[in-house]
């Protein structure tokens, strides 16, 4: 037998936690009706195989490429315009919601007064409301309101992403070193100036990489929203899939990969310039 002094005291709790996790996961699998067997069903497999076989050769005729180019530009435009509108709401929202710029926190060792905390709650609530409804739902709503086309996609991205960006920006402001901005505040600086000189230099890199990452997500989201008629690449993929044009779908998926790669490189480039 093992010497009792050499037995790891953490072993038993770890085993128990593992068993508990498995026990909790099982009902999840059962409830979601995951059945991997359908993948190996012969008829399904041949159907899927035929669709995938169509992917090659890639569609590359002149007319399709022109269409693809237009759709790609439209997608980029939806994502970028949506992000720009989102930033217009997110930046003021984050400044209002963040504790980092609290004047009353300066002489309370970092804890704002109760009324200051209470005033931040409605702003936080607004940001929660903005991001709690998925962009696809907003897109469906706006397609009904303003009709088919990119406008619905832009508005849907602006609303959902402003909530996400605002929340994350506010948290970034709170997570960087608070001392530079506090020092400026006790030298009489206004709060926005203390933000620009004390918080922004430390937060800029993280904000930038998160913003570019969100832009990348917005590109993906605008494609998904295309399926419900909000323009861009998604609408084209939807059409091509309905026509069982596998080659066109493959070309568009490849374009997609290139867009994400582009966003990734852009983020890297900007961070390298800033850091």
């Amino acid at each position: 037998m093992l010497n009792p002094a050499l037995r790891d005291p953490a072993a038993l709790p770890r085993l128990a936690l593992t068993l508990l996790a498995v026990l909790l996961l099982w009902p999840g699998l059962a409830l979601s009706e995951l059945n991997l067997a359908v993948l190996f069903d012969e008829r399904n497999a041949t159907n899927m195989g035929r669709f995938l076989a169509d992917f090659w050769p890639l569609a590359h005729d002149r007319e399709f490429l022109r269409l693809l180019g237009r759709a790609t530009l439209e997608t980029l435009a939806i994502a970028t315009a949506g992000m720009a509108l989102a930033l217009l709401i997110a930046i003021p929202g984050a400044l209002l919601a963040s504790r980092a710029l609290s004047l009353s926190a300066v002489h309370r060792s970092g804890r704002p007064a109760w009324w200051a905390r209470a005033l931040r709650w409605p702003v936080r609530g607004l940001l929660i409301v903005l991001r709690s409804v998925p962009e696809i739902v907003w897109a469906l709503l706006f397609v009904r309101a303003v009709g088919l086309g990119p406008t619905a996609g832009v508005l849907a991205i602006a609303i959902t992403y402003s909530g996400m960006l605002g929340k994350v920006y506010a948290e970034i402001f709170e997570s960087v070193d608070p001392r530079p901005s506090r020092a400026l505040l006790i030298a009489g600086s206004p709060r926005l100036a203390a933000f620009a000189y004390g918080i922004l230099p430390n937060a800029a890199a993280e904000m930038l990489s998160y913003t570019v990452y969100r832009w990348e997500c917005a590109i993906r989201a605008s494609v998904v929203m295309g399926f419900v008629g909000a323009g861009g690449l998604g609408q084209q993929i939807d059409l091509s899939m309905r026509m069982f044009a596998g080659g066109q779908v493959a070309s568009m998926l490849l374009t997609f990969l290139l867009l994400v790669l582009l966003a990734d490189q852009l983020s890297r480039l900007l961070r390298a310039r800033l850091l």
């Binding site: 002489h107 020092a183 505040l185 030298a187 009489g188 600086s189 100036a193 000189y197 430390n202």
Partner: protein, 267 residues
């Protein structure tokens, strides 16, 4: 009167008493050093005077105004007339020295000017003049993370000199410098303060520097003012009493070290 405290006490949120029954009057243009052992309350006193902490009891008057009777806006205006030199100046690592120094005037500039200054430094001659008093003019466009601790402290001093407040509070302003540089920097600071008619309060852990550079010395111990004298009236016994530490073994009077007895453990 520049500073007037009567019966001021400060208790931290965790119930620890940092200062009690502080009475202090400092006239305009006076230069005062605060000395005392670690944890005596020197930093708390300075942060109280910078209205960075609110006293739990007593009356505090700064530059003729009671900071805690003012609204937030007027208090910010009062704070802009007081400069605090931090022991470790909190400067963002990626900020350039010129921006860090010019930030001293944020309390006096309009927001538009402050933001414009972030894009292009608006008063490079002013920043250079403040830095050159501290022999750092060549570091104008360096980033703050490329400076040593002593250089950062001097940038912090330059920022407050550029702010040109009426009252300067300095918390261990030369603690990261070698003795020669520390003495030189303190005399520069004192010269600037007397030339411009400012009031200066500095906490120092180097007693000899305090005695050499300041005409009035305040000894603080356990949150109370123990003495308030000109340097020539402070004797060795007063300093010994100020720095006496019951927790450490008393320094042996004899210069010869006690004989070391070696014990070889036996199994």
């Amino acid at each position: 009167m520049s500073i007037s405290l009567s019966g001021v006490g400060l208790t931290h949120a965790n119930g620890q008493v940092a200062l009690s029954e502080i009475d202090l009057q400092v006239k305009l243009g006076e230069r005062v050093a605060i000395i005392g052992p670690s944890g005596a309350g020197k930093t708390s006193l300075l942060r109280l005077l910078a209205s960075n902490l609110q006293p739990s009891s007593g009356q505090i008057q700064l530059l003729g105004q009671q900071p805690w009777q003012l609204g937030a806006r007027q208090r910010q205006q009062l704070r802009a007339r007081i400069g605090l030199i931090h022991q470790a100046p909190p400067l963002p690592p990626r900020q350039r020295v010129v921006t860090a120094v010019l930030a001293g005037k944020l309390g006096q500039w309009s927001l538009g000017k402050s933001l414009l200054n972030l894009l292009h430094p608006l008063d490079m001659p002013g920043a250079r003049a403040a830095l050159s008093r501290l022999d750092l003019a060549d570091k104008l466009f360096e980033r703050c993370d490329q400076l040593s601790g002593g250089q950062l402290q001097r940038v912090g001093i330059a920022r407050v000199l550029y702010q040109a407040p009426e009252l300067i509070l300095a918390d261990e302003p030369v603690s990261a410098m070698d003795p020669v540089l520390a003495g030189h920097t303190l005399s520069v600071l004192n010269e600037e303060v007397s030339r411009r008619g400012m009031t200066l309060l500095a906490s120092l852990h180097a007693v000899e520097l305090a005695l050499a550079h300041f005409p009035r010395i305040i000894g603080v111990r356990e949150g109370r003012i123990v003495f308030d004298l000109p340097p020539e009236a402070i004797g060795a016994s007063a300093l010994d009493a100020l720095y006496a530490n019951e927790l450490l073994p008393a320094v042996p009077a004899s210069a010869t070290p006690a004989p070391v007895s070696v014990q070889i453990p036996r199994c």
